[in-house]
Subunit: 209 residues, 2 copies
């Protein structure tokens, strides 16, 4: 890797870190310059504007987070097994990529000010997560025939994750509580009359209402 590419990476690393901590507007080019040791003009040479950095940071966070997420085709013989696998990997990704989600949330908030390209990238990021969640949930609960149920449960899961990400910026040691989430998802599946096979401890699915 040549020096240019290494510099580019260094800038993106620092910028991503600072923006996740302070937000986009509160992060200045000179902060980034000081923190990564490269002059302001180099930053402008690599990315044409502050918005350019924003877009590149988002794109990189998205790629990294999606690569770290478990595959949407969750392996496992029955629902209980697949659900446990899914939740464990979700928790792991949440733990190992604190910046990924916070960048999306923090930067997603300032959509009103951002450029068209940046807004597009934020939506791209968010849509990728939504798709992934829907496919994963659908795979875990075998919901190929019930897309609306899959949608509802995916939304539910993602909102829980976002909410926990929010809680984490008040209390950094916050973890994703997979226990209650597991109970809730099984409850939702049962409520919709989805067959849960031998899932222990949740009783038989009652009639859907």
């Amino acid at each position: 890797m040549d020096r240019g590419a290494r510099s580019r990476d260094a800038i993106l690393d620092t910028a991503g870190d600072l923006m996740a901590r302070h937000g986009f507007a509160a992060t200045s080019i000179s902060m980034i310059s000081t923190a990564c040791g490269l002059p302001v003009s180099s930053i402008y040479w690599h990315f044409r504007s502050k918005d350019g950095i924003y877009v590149a940071v988002l794109e990189r966070a998205r790629t990294a987070l999606l690569a770290a997420l478990p595959p949407a085709e969750v392996p496992g013989a029955d629902v209980a097994q697949r659900l446990d696998t899914f939740l464990a990997e979700l928790e792991g990704a949440f733990q190992r990529h604190p910046r990924g989600v916070k960048l999306l949330l923090g930067l997603g908030m300032v959509q009103q000010d951002a450029s068209t390209a940046a807004v597009a990238e934020v939506r791209h990021y968010r849509d990728a997560l939504v798709d992934w969640a829907r496919e994963s949930v659908s795979s875990v609960f075998a919901l190929g025939e019930r897309p609306q149920v899959a949608d509802e449960m995916a939304r539910f899961t993602l909102r829980m994750v976002s909410g926990t990400a929010v809680a984490r910026w008040f209390e950094p040691q916050t973890v994703l509580e997979t226990g209650p989430l597991r109970v809730a998802l099984l409850g939702l599946a049962a409520h919709h009359g989805v067959t849960v096979g031998g899932a222990p401890g949740e009783g038989a699915p009652p009639a859907a209402s």
Copy 2:
């Protein structure tokens, strides 16, 4: 009300609106001045600094939101009735006070930059919400004897609400989905062996695991 107080209110209204939309850092004094029609120096006369505005805006949002929330002592003969009441009022408050939560979230994010007073006010705001949630959930499910269960369910509820608030800034028409939340909370209660009385459609509570 004299003119001074009215001006103060007008400034706070505009500042709160702008800050909820753009975030703290991206909201400038001159933006506020232009939007509310009062000169910059009046703003500085009422609030000594930009941070002063921040604190006042947060304090006001907290007061307004807490006043709008249903009382923590939820009325109702049985769990199902109290839960329905609780969820309906929660949804209503969520719908009617979009700024309250977003201010807390958006401003809470920039804690690192903010003054001591502002950070204190953010935590105060957040703690008030946590307390309210815990007491409400405890009242709905009669959890006086099981504080840990109440804590878990309150955290769960709040995270769902925060997550939905996040979703709303991507898609403004987003509403709090009380249906799935209801199922999830009943499932959690059952999982902890909490007596749910005549709650319809959820089956008998299985043995706690």
